[in-house]
């Protein structure tokens, strides 16, 4: 079974040289720590920055320089800064190659719910609806089941949607799944030590298993 860093590490293997990538809050942020050697990836922060660098050294925090998670960050040589409309303009125009974000639920047709739980205080969708509506490629990083032990890979979402037919791939602590255009979670890889049976038991939506499923190599 993967921990959060394991999920991030596995997702990092999806990165390709030259990609522009938007990382959501939580596990997706950790992906930045595992960018494979020899691959150059540019991180976009939707408040208005391309080329997000690491956190500043202590004492060098700049209150004018934050990411979409409101954390103090740094720029890199080649960074550019712009207003939030241009930031979402480049997202909407499909210039960001990959969006990685968390989810509460994903349905077998690629719908995603990650912003609102009826009855609970709603903080807002931030940029998530814009991102999922426009990104060419969306990978969801999440736990396979919720705190109540219920599968988050569902036939259809029960929570209010963030976007429809958009998730392309899911990485959980149990495995890696493609969301097929015709519907269904196609199991690609098992997490270390996890059996196909365990994945079946934790997946409520249509699970597609073809042939032998390899254990992932990290």
């Amino acid at each position: 079974m993967l921990d959060k860093n394991g999920i991030a590490k596995r997702i990092a293997k999806e990165l390709k040289d030259g990609y522009y990538v938007n990382l959501g809050i939580g596990i997706p942020t950790l992906v930045a720590n595992y960018i494979p050697e020899g691959i150059s990836v540019t991180l976009q922060s939707e408040n208005g920055l391309l080329g997000m660098g690491p956190f500043p050294f202590e004492g060098e925090e700049d209150p004018d320089l934050i990411n979409a998670g409101k954390q103090t960050i740094t720029t890199l040589p080649g960074s550019s800064i712009f207003d939030s409309a241009l930031s979402f303009g480049m997202i909407r125009a499909g210039k960001v190659d990959l969006t990685i974000l968390g989810a509460m639920e994903v349905s077998e047709n690629g719908d995603i719910a990650n912003w609102k739980i009826p009855g609970k205080m709603v903080k807002g969708m931030g940029g998530a609806m814009d991102l999922v509506a426009s990104a060419k490629n969306i990978i969801v990083a999440m736990q396979h089941v919720n705190k109540a032990g219920e599968s988050k890979l569902l036939p259809s979402c029960t929570l209010p949607l963030t976007g429809t037919n958009c998730v392309k791939k899911i990485v959980t602590e149990l495995g890696v799944f493609d969301v097929l255009p015709e519907g269904g979670f196609k199991l690609l890889e098992r997490a270390p030590g996890i059996s196909v049976e365990q994945i079946k038991n934790s997946t409520a939506g249509k699970l597609i298993i073809e042939g032998d499923i390899p254990e992932m190599v990290l």
Binding site: E46, G48, D64, F88, R92, M121, M125, G163
Partner: protein, 232 residues
């Protein structure tokens, strides 16, 4: 053309009860601290604020919330604010949540004289309820209207008396969009410079969009999430 006013009190003097305001900033980054303080002092009520966030309990728009001066917030994300949550749950405060890119683009649309824009954000979600959906090239888009705000209050790094503005780093965020979008735009700056000191090629907001400008003071620039790495 001299748009300089003496201070924040002077700049906000005709913002009256019930006004709709665009308020620049993302989180606590790039917020018009002086103008917000002047609005608190002025005790103006029933404001509608278009702002990506709602500040924290004791800073930013949180200061207006504390005094119950805000009737409605139009935002994309309103976490980090207990008083906000209390007012919302008690029904004292109205909140309209809209996607961040839609918020930014609706401000920009006002500045570009475009009455409406199309975006796919929110298609198939509750955000789409009551909105016109239109298909272009096989993809659905929502039609979203330009905002109509009485005032915009924004914070820039440098500005001149013509109202030309330059923003620093990611404090740019929503500020130039709101500067364009307000019917009357009030800009506070860290440094008011002489005309000619700003390179014409580097101006982010041309002065034509700005109606009043003043030199701000005592900027706190609070950091919401201080994250650092160890020196090594």
């Amino acid at each position: 053309m001299n748009k300089v006013v003496a201070n924040a009190d002077e700049a906000v003097k005709d913002i009256t009860d019930g006004a709709t305001l665009m308020v620049g900033g993302f989180g606590l980054c790039g917020i018009p601290e002086n103008s917000i303080a002047a609005l608190v002092k002025k005790q103006v009520k029933n404001l509608t604020c278009i702002s990506n966030n709602a500040g924290v309990d004791d800073f930013g728009l949180g200061l207006l919330l504390q005094q119950k001066q805000i009737k409605k917030m139009i935002s994309s994300y309103v976490g980090e604010n207990a008083e906000f949550e209390r007012q919302l749950l008690s029904g004292e405060l109205e909140v309209e949540l809209i996607p961040q890119g839609t918020l930014a683009t609706r401000c920009m649309a006002a500045g570009y004289g475009m009455p409406a824009i199309f975006t796919p954000a929110g298609v198939g979600t509750e955000v789409a309820i009551g909105k016109e959906v239109r298909n272009f090239n096989g993809k659905d888009y929502l039609m979203e209207y330009a905002f109509d705000a009485d005032f915009a209050i924004v914070k820039a790094w440098k500005g001149d008396k013509h109202g030309n503005l330059i923003f620093r780093s990611t404090s740019r965020n929503f500020n130039p969009l709101m500067a364009m979008g307000g019917k009357i735009t009030i800009a506070e700056v860290e440094e008011l410079v002489q005309p000619g000191e700003l390179d014409p090629d580097q101006i982010h907001t041309p002065g034509i969009y700005v109606h009043r400008i003043f030199q701000g003071k005592d900027y706190e620039k609070r950091i919401e999430q201080r994250t650092v790495r160890a020196k090594g």
